[in-house]
């Protein structure tokens, strides 16, 4: 029976429904959190999306056949950014309320959902979250409980504020909201990437300097000036200390650039790159190259005590 369902071109009841009340809109904002609750590779977020807007659809379509039609086409493939989904919801709900032709709603929905996914990734996953993580992870590492609390307040607070604001804004403006959002999308993405790259540069130094060389070359006592009193003064040359005089942070910078090169130019997967780092770490410690407290190198080498 299910497979015989034929989607109509228009709703049966074409009189625009009454505008949705605040309570329903708020309910849908909270429900939008479940966007990915039934994520799958066939239609991605579709079921979660439909569940999110159901309270509105039930208010709009009092005719049972129309509700079935609306629910059916809202089970289409959908993939967008979870933080920005209420924008799509607002636009789609305003079209449903005006009983727009079903095909129009379908194509508008998919054409705004996809670009929003890209903008959201750049803005939140790659810029905002790394900054929040960078600031709060340091606190947590010092054993400060404020770290996770601050993380929750910032990440959850910002996304809920956005979800509410976007829902009301886009529902109020309807399809007109699309142009004002997508007009400067390219410029916006570039500016967001700029900030993201700037922060990545900072993270490389701020979080990367823990990786250090441990090699120390003892100078030969007979050839140094440190022979006074017959006792050799332990003159050693520490490789990391020398590097820090020239360009502090050069090790994390070089290693990040290597990862970038392998991932972006050589098409390596993250997993493959991670495996390479495991090899570099372990082989390095076999030969006593890396600093990591007191450990015994497997191969006896002159630069590792």
């Amino acid at each position: 029976m299910a497979s015989n369902y034929v989607l109509p071109e228009n709703y049966k009841d074409l009189t625009p429904a009454a505008p949705l009340d605040k309570k329903t809109l708020n309910k849908m904002v909270w429900r939008s959190l479940q966007l990915q609750a039934c994520f799958n590779y066939e239609r991605m977020q579709s079921a979660g999306w439909l569940w999110g807007i159901l309270p509105g659809l039930e208010k709009i379509h009092t005719n049972k056949d129309d509700l079935a039609a609306s629910m059916t086409h809202n089970m289409d493939f959908l993939n967008t950014h979870p933080y920005l989904v209420t924008f799509v919801m607002g636009v789609v709900l305003s079209m449903e309320q005006n009983k727009s032709p079903i095909q129009t709603i379908r194509s508008v929905r998919i054409s705004i959902a996809a670009p929003l996914g890209g903008i959201g990734d750049a803005l939140f996953w790659y810029t905002f979250m790394p900054i929040v993580a960078g600031v709060t992870a340091g606190l947590a590492q010092d054993g400060n409980i404020l770290g996770p609390i601050l993380y929750f307040v910032l990440a959850f607070g910002v996304q809920m504020a956005l979800r509410f604001w976007l829902m009301y804004w886009s529902y109020g403006m309807g399809t007109a909201a699309i142009t004002s959002l997508t007009k400067n999308a390219k410029e916006f993405t570039h500016a967001a990437s700029m900030m993201g790259i700037f922060v990545v540069g900072a993270l490389i130094y701020n979080m990367g300097t823990g990786v250090q060389f441990g090699m120390e070359f003892a100078s030969d006592a007979s050839t140094t000036l440190g022979q006074e009193g017959g006792e050799a003064v332990g003159l050693t040359t520490n490789v990391q200390a020398q590097l820090d005089k020239i360009l502090p942070g050069v090790v994390p910078l070089a290693m990040t650039l290597m990862c970038y090169y392998l991932l972006a130019k050589k098409g390596w997967t993250p997993i493959k790159t991670i495996c390479l780092l495991l090899v570099i770490g372990i082989v390095g410690c076999i030969f006593g190259i890396w600093a990591n407290g007191a450990y015994n190198a497997l191969v006896p080498v002159p630069w590792h005590a």
Binding site: A137, Y260, I282
Partner: protein
């Protein structure tokens, strides 16, 4: 006491497994999840420190377009068990936790594949205008995901305890191996940074990358070093807003020239 820990760990893992895609989408982050798991396993302080460490590794490893990165719920659970129950160093625990994170990634991929079968049920509910049916589909999906993760977490809990003695011997006998794992654990974050660069890098942004690097170095050596990243973010916002404003202005003025408008110069 132990049974209480297992039950609480199971409940927490169940919630985190669902939270990584819905609910708050924040609680599952390592910095929060590890703190909670740490408290459950009896060492809140260790949980905090592990959380900070794992959160940094997780930077850049985000689920994008349905592609799954290593699973950080699994990572957090295993790392906490290995440090608190098995007694490994945090850095040393990172590499073995990663193995489980990859396993968790496959579990998620499996669930997402199997869940395609739920779409028929959802369609049927839609054709019949039956909202309850949609709710059921969501609940089934969340229950499968949560249960699978919970089972793995319980296995890890008992396995991690059993490993405690052999691991201690291993780390004294093969100190180069644990040191190597520890160094690579610290290096993993570079992969995350590399992923971020891959996505955002453009030819004109290389200078910006180095500028950020330099800013962090300068602030890091100053008396405001604890606020380094916040100040860096301030400068970053300034650059981004300026870039956005000037390119929009440029675009608009170019548009008006085409339209034959003259600004009088």
């Amino acid at each position: 006491m132990e049974i209480l820990q297992v039950v609480l760990l199971a409940v927490a893992t169940f919630v985190f497994a669902i939270d990584q895609f819905s609910l708050t989408e924040v609680l599952y982050r390592p910095i929060i999840a590890c703190t909670i798991i740490g408290a459950i396993l009896g060492d809140l302080k260790a949980g905090l420190v592990i959380g900070g460490e794992v959160e940094i590794i997780a930077i850049g490893q985000m689920p994008v377009g349905g592609a799954q990165p290593p699973n950080f719920v699994m990572f957090s659970v295993v790392a906490c068990v290995l440090v608190i129950k098995t007694g490994l160093d945090i850095e040393t625990a990172v590499a073995p936790s990663l193995v489980f994170a990859l396993f968790g990634q496959y579990v998620v991929t499996l669930v997402f594949t199997v869940a395609s079968g739920l779409m028929d049920k959802a369609d049927e509910a839609a054709h019949n205008a039956n909202p309850k049916g949609i709710t059921n589909v969501l609940n089934i999906h969340m229950a499968i995901l949560g249960t699978l993760f919970t089972v793995i977490a319980i296995v890890c809990f008992y396995g991690g305890q059993a490993l405690s003695e052999p691991m201690k011997n291993l780390s004294t006998q093969f100190s180069w191996l644990t040191a190597g794992l520890s160094v690579s654990g610290t290096m993993l974050r570079f992969v995350g940074f590399g992923i971020l660069m891959k996505i955002m890098m453009a030819g004109d942004l290389w200078g910006i990358l180095l500028a950020g690097f330099a800013c962090a170095a300068i602030f890091g050596a100053s008396s405001v070093s604890s606020a380094t990243l916040i100040y860096v973010a301030f400068i970053g916002v300034a650059i981004a807003v300026y870039d956005y404003m000037s390119s929009v202005k440029l675009k608009n003025s170019a548009g008006s020239n085409v339209g034959g408008m003259s600004d009088g110069i």
